[in-house]
């Protein structure tokens, strides 16, 4: 069974540009989460989808970040326009509904220059 897949694995963009990160959860997992780790800091929760609905987006830093999960399958996280402080590693995770074990992807390392 495939795990959680994220791509790209690494993205380097200029300040002011737009970047879209993608996450493919494990098939059948209703819960999908985005986290990020800014350099030298903790891994922070961004948001949680249950199927296609946003269950909790309290961790989204500002309105430059937009997450979608059309059809309740894969999810995208768009940053527009990117700022220097957005650099970090963005993790996606998924879990079955009601299940407490989340499986993480390898992360996307975003570098904004």
């Amino acid at each position: 069974e495939a795990g959680v897949t994220q791509f790209p694995s690494h993205s380097v963009i200029e300040k002011g540009q737009t970047v879209t990160l993608r996450c493919d959860p494990i098939s059948g997992h209703d819960n999908l989460y985005w986290y990020r780790r800014v350099m030298g800091k903790e891994i922070k929760f961004l948001l949680h989808f249950v199927k296609e609905s946003k269950q909790d987006e309290s961790g989204m830093p500002n309105n430059r970040f937009l997450a979608e999960r059309t059809g309740g399958t894969y999810s995208t996280l768009k940053v527009q326009p990117a700022e220097l402080e957005d650099s970090g590693v963005y993790f996606c995770a998924s879990s079955q509904f009601g299940n407490t074990e989340a499986f993480f992807g390898q992360g996307t390392r975003l570098t904004v220059v």
Partner: protein
Amino acid sequence: AQSVTQPDIHITVSEGASLELRCNYSYGATPYLFWYVQSPGQGLQLLLKYFSGDTLVQGIKGFEAEFKRSQSSFNLRKPSVHWSDAAEYFCAVGARTNGQNFVFGPGTRLSVLP
């Protein structure tokens, strides 16, 4: 507010030595507790988890952790470290509801000397 502390930013041990990584949490109720490991270039891998029952939890790769409610701790241990254990270790707490909006600790980086 929920929080997780990992007092040690970086630990260095010799191969074959024992290991204990500390984790303390602040949470309003009994949380779910997790330890994840991130090896270089890899994603986060679950080592072990505590939900209820026996407070000593066994995980993969020979790791174990003990939940101590009175100390709000969930320390990770391994009796004999291998060079492949060099990685970053994260303690996390999660709510006892659907969804795992984890609160992570800052991580402890483990270096292993030959």
